[in-house]
């Protein structure tokens, strides 16, 4: 009876865990990172004290690093599962499949490294563990990091699109309220001056995010060389900016100096400026009424 109760409780808890929305870093990942920190400290102390068995601590630290890396890659997979395929074009679906495969390959590589270490840990030499750590670092830098970057950039762009939509809706409501104030013969000159500033900022924020979208679609989703920009730019705009108000016209994208992340961050900074002006306007309205 107790076993059945425990089983039911466990099932309920598992269900609750699965039904919660996916977060970027699960508790497993956070705990795994704490384990890495602890084992690094232990390893450093062992080396400082010239512990003859420091290889044991090196192996232990390496295992913790692999453990964390597996959890981290799995988190990104869960995040990618959340992309609604009904809302994206065929190129994005193909990109998602490619990225998912990269993550699967990475997890497979990490798993194989973990199995190797567990099988050989009793007899491993310092040279062997150093070689393993070096190849792991190379994989992480050359395979995992670019994939993680692409996923993060995709979500940055999508979330900035949502942020812009929210900002635009708020601006539309404010525009209606300013008209109301004007009809009530309240002096709105200062309010209108501030509001015109937000109009410009919102337009710039859209332009920056559109540039980020184009850069991402051109280099990551369609994987085009620079020379083909002008040829199919309109097609990219059609798919990439279906929800954004694109202000881009023909011609090559000149924003290659800025990274996708920089462009989105700059666009978001403008959104924050807009909200600061809205707050100033709110204070002004209080004085007027």
């Amino acid at each position: 009876m107790r076993t059945i109760s425990l089983f039911i409780l466990f099932s309920l808890l598992s269900g609750a865990y699965l039904s919660t929305p996916a977060r970027a870093q699960s508790n497993t990942t956070k705990e795994a990172l704490e384990d890495v920190k602890e084992s690094v400290t232990t390893l450093i102390n062992a080396k400082d004290e010239e512990n003859p068995n420091d290889i044991v601590f090196r192996i232990e630290t390496f295992k913790k690093v692999i453990n964390f890396s597996i959890a981290e890659a799995k988190d990104l997979k869960i995040k990618l599962f959340g992309v609604d395929l009904k809302k994206v074009g065929t190129s994005t679906i193909a990109w998602k499949n490619r990225i998912m495969k990269n993550l699967d390959d990475t997890i497979e590589y990490y798993d194989s490294e973990m199995s190797f270490i567990k099988e050989r840990e009793a007899t491993m030499t310092l040279a062997e563990i150093k070689a393993k750590a070096e190849s792991f670092k190379e994989w992480r830098e050359n395979k995992y990091a670019p994939t993680a970057d692409e996923i993060n950039n995709y979500f940055l762009i999508e979330q900035q699109k949502q942020a812009l939509e929210t900002t635009k809706k708020r601006a539309d409501k404010i525009r209606i309220d300013i008209e109301k104030l004007k009809k009530a013969r309240i002096k709105t000159l200062n309010l209108e001056k501030l509001f015109s500033k937000t109009d410009i900022l919102i337009k710039d924020a859209y332009e920056l995010n559109d540039k980020a979208v184009l850069l991402f679609y051109r280099t990551k989703i369609l994987q085009l060389p620079q020379s083909e920009d002008g040829v199919i730019l309109s097609e990219i705009i059609e798919e990439a900016t279906s929800t954004a108000t694109s202000t881009m016209t023909g011609g090559a994208d000149k924003s290659t100096e800025l990274s996708i992340k920089d462009l989105v961050k700059e666009s978001f900074a403008k959104v924050k400026n807009v909200y600061q002006i809205f707050i100033d306007m709110s204070n002004l309205v209080r004085k007027l009424l």
Binding site: A24, K130, N152, Q159, R170, I279, S282, V285
Partner: protein, 155 residues
């Protein structure tokens, strides 16, 4: 013949209702008056020209006050808290924090790999040195007193 008619009329003139019947009928009429509803009374009241005029005046006054006084509600800018919450709730905010966490985690992993590979200068590890320097309390009172004593001895 005319005498007969005259006599008849004289007799009819003297006819009066039965006092009992008269009293009962009077009571019945009085009780019916009391049954008039308040609605009827109200309708009768508002139909009076004076009342209609007053209502019209009050309405004109209300319209004038409404037009002239600025009682405008500006819901979009009403609360600063709402604006702050709106910008804080943007999911990109959360994502940027996650990116920062990921960057820190990546630095940690790279530091761990360096430690696993590194077999030289184990006594010069910056983490160990930092940790040790923090444990050293240079501004210790005892050491300051020793310094003073040494100064006294020397000079």
């Amino acid at each position: 013949m005319s005498h007969k008619i005259h006599k008849q009329l004289e007799r009819l003139r003297q006819i009066s209702p039965n006092p009992h019947f008269a009293a009962r009928t009077r009571l019945s009429i009085l009780s019916q008056k009391q049954n008039i509803s308040y609605i009827d009374v109200f309708i009768l009241f508002i139909k009076k020209p004076m009342v209609v005029g007053s209502f019209a005046f009050a309405l004109v006054l209300f319209v004038l006050i409404s037009v002239l006084s600025p009682t405008v509600t500006v819901s979009s800018l009403e609360s600063i808290d709402t604006l702050n919450q709106e910008v804080d709730a943007l999911s990109i905010n959360i994502h940027l924090k996650e990116l920062s966490y990921q960057q820190n985690a990546d630095s940690m992993v790279m530091a761990a790999i360096t430690e696993i590979k590194d077999a030289k200068a184990s006594h010069l590890n910056s983490k160990t040195l930092n940790s040790e320097s923090q444990n050293l309390n240079i501004e210790n009172k005892d050491s300051q007193n020793i310094d003073k004593l040494l100064d006294t001895v020397i000079f």
